[in-house]
């Protein structure tokens, strides 16, 4: 509240001063001058900081506070009254012998497998296509545009289309696999049972490879052509050019790209929710859906918050380790 007040007052004061000192041009009014010297950068950052605080930090702190409370439907109306249960929610979440902990651990493994597979393949497909698209050929512009379609489509519409295609009896996937190519001996289920994991991976790759493609393509265009020319004069083959020029130049981009893809995929909520609804099959029970179900469908918000905080800690640790690891590697390769 006070923060907003300051921001709204300052321009006003400045305006007043400018009006007052109408004739004396060139001389900066007293108050803005002081702000200009010391606080202006901070002042300009303030709106962003306030918003960041309101939109990200505050809900996160509230979520953390909730995780220490027994917040169920009985207290949702006045959640600050929910009883303080200390670490109970956490203990339940990490008690891997009891059903809730066991289910959480299971969904954690599923998510990890899903993420590694989806990110790895998205990166591979994206990079491969970007490299191929470097050559100039007829229709390249058109192809590039088509490649970006999955990235540009609204997630919901795209995933629901996939859900239709994965239907057992009327879906396109079974129509092709079973009716036309006769690969399967009977129509398979994709949205329930064990196959749903692969359905999830396929949609996730389809959704995220264009981003990898876009990033890698942009990075590739920044590599000076002369490097390749010089290399080929020196007798380097295609593979050597990729290994010695392309890959090292892509390194900074890949470092960020893989991290971002990992975080997005690990937290992906849209894909499983639209494909499977609020209760995903066991084999595709991603952690985001699992936490959602724990909090919003069984009305145990405290427990759900505790699981979210655990997830946050896990991802922070992974990110930190990843950054230490990659920057160390970078240092040695640079120096």
């Amino acid at each position: 509240m006070t923060a907003t007040d300051t921001t709204s007052q300052v321009p006003q004061a400045a305006g007043d001063d400018v009006l007052k000192s109408g004739g004396a041009r060139g001389r900066f009014p007293r108050i803005p001058d002081r702000i200009r010297r010391g606080g202006l950068p901070y002042l300009l950052l303030l709106p962003a900081l306030v918003l960041e605080l309101l939109i990200h930090i505050l809900p996160m702190i509230i979520g953390m506070v909730m995780s220490f409370r027994g917040l169920t439907q009985f207290f949702i109306r006045n959640w600050s009254n929910a009883p303080w249960t200390g670490l109970h929610n956490y203990r339940v979440a990490v008690d891997f012998d009891a059903p809730i902990g066991k289910a959480l651990l299971h969904s954690f493994y599923v998510t990890l497998g899903f993420t590694l597979l989806a990110v790895g393949l998205s990166w591979l497909v994206g990079t491969g296509t970007a490299v191929l698209m470097q050559e100039n050929f007829r229709g390249r512009g058109l192809l590039r545009t088509i490649f970006l379609v999955p990235y540009a489509l609204p997630a919901y519409a795209a995933i629901i289309t996939w859900a239709f295609m994965f239907q057992r009896d009327n879906g396109l996937v079974n129509h092709v696999l079973h009716d036309q190519l006769h690969i399967t001996d009977k129509p398979s289920f994709w949205l329930i049972g064990d196959n749903s994991f692969y359905a999830l991976v396929i949609v996730a790759i389809w959704k995220s490879w264009p981003f990898a493609f876009l990033m890698v393509m942009a990075a590739l265009q920044n590599i000076p052509r002369e490097l390749y020319e010089a290399a080929s004069i020196d007798g380097a083959g295609l593979w050597q050019q990729i290994r010695k020029i392309t890959m090292p130049s892509l390194r900074p981009v890949n470092q960020v790209l893989v991290l971002v893809l990992f975080l997005w995929t690990f937290n992906d909520f849209n894909t499983p929710y639209v494909l499977f609804g609020k209760s995903a099959p066991e084999s595709a029970d991603l952690i985001s859906i699992h936490i959602y179900q724990s909090s919003f469908d069984t009305w145990n918000f405290g427990s759900g918050s505790a699981m979210s905080v655990l997830l946050l800690l896990f991802l922070l640790v992974v990110t930190t380790v990843y950054l230490i690891f990659t920057s160390r590697g970078r240092k040695t390769s640079d120096g």
């Binding site: 990200h56 809900p59 949702i76 109306r77 339940v92 059903p99 289920f189 069984t298 009305w299 950054l323």
Partner: protein, 439 residues
Amino acid sequence: MRRIRAAAAVAITVSTLAGATACGGGSEAGGSNESPKTLTYWASNQGPSIPADKKILTPELKKFEKQTGIKVKLEVVPWSDLLKRILAATTSGQGPDVLNIGNTWSASLQATGALLPWNAKNFDAIGGRDRFVDAAVGSAGAEGKDPSAVPLYSLSYALYYNKKMFADAGIAQAPATWDELVADGKKISKNGTSGKWGLGAEGGNLSNNIHQAFVLGQQHGADFFDASGKPTFTSPGAVAAVKQYVDFMGKDKIIAPGNAEYAQNQSLSDFSKGKTAMVLWQAAASTFASQGMKPEDWGAAPVPVQSGTPGKGKNVNSMVAGINMAVFKNTKNTKGALQFVKFMTSTDEQKLLNKAYGSVPPVTAAQSDPAFNAPGVKVLKDTLSNSAAPLPQVASESQFETTVGTAIKELWADAAAGKAITTESVKAKLTKAQQQMTQ
């Protein structure tokens, strides 16, 4: 440089995750009003579409405005969003004045304390509690507490069957017991070789799974909750009920395996297309009509029982389904809200609205209208007054739908994949569901 990059990455992590921690917080305030001359009303999506609902309700709201001078702002909320919207409104305190709730949520929402309790005084303001069918009021809150809502549209389950498919298979009349249903179903499906199927199911729809399991449970003497409100999902009766239901696909092979993934009423389209001979459904007439079936193509009969005929006691053959009308406790206009509920539950409006939606009026006086004695609707009406029971009115009903509904969904997937459904496998799934309830 390195530090900046690390900070940026941490910032990405934190902001991506903030979404997870705080997800679901996006409450859309319905705007509780300060002035007594307006009301906000969240109607649940009852008709074939939201515009259709608006078309049905708007003239009635105009009528109400003419009578009382109170303007009602209508918002029709899809089912999939309704409970989330109510929860958000409850947390923020910014809800509508009047809203529709599914009657199975009554006790869960009652526990939040967000809804106005319907004590004798409030009931008097709308003409008294005895105007309503008893079972309908019974499904509006926990026993021994003032109901959290007032019944608006009542529904029950019936067995719908395709007359021509029955005749083709040489079946003279609708089955009255499950044994007969299985026998009839087998005549049609011929162990899954005929390309046609006996019965339809919505395996991916958690609520529907619960409704069927509850009815079969009642017939096996199981309640899913004990008197103190503790879950008893693994009682022999409950296990037998769930197994009996899933066996229709796994053992009896009268349900098509594809039904295991149905959740968007696909079983009704299969029925209309003549692929499936029977469905257990609430008020399906308007859907059949919209899919091109004529009223004489299908028949409606009471849902089968284990043996004998439906009636009071063990031979429950439907849950009391329906939509209730609740008043948000935070309303600044309780008087206007009560007036509006009185209007919507008045005999004339009840006749009109329930006719439009194909449901049964929970107001006794409105039931005398001949429209509710038409063949399809009469079965629903008789079931409601004779052999329907409300789902357990416990605060954790919502969890029950999620956990047990999911357990049954997983069992359908197993049955569809050809895995054996045994008493043990059913019990294991229900044990897991029950353990998730008690933390």
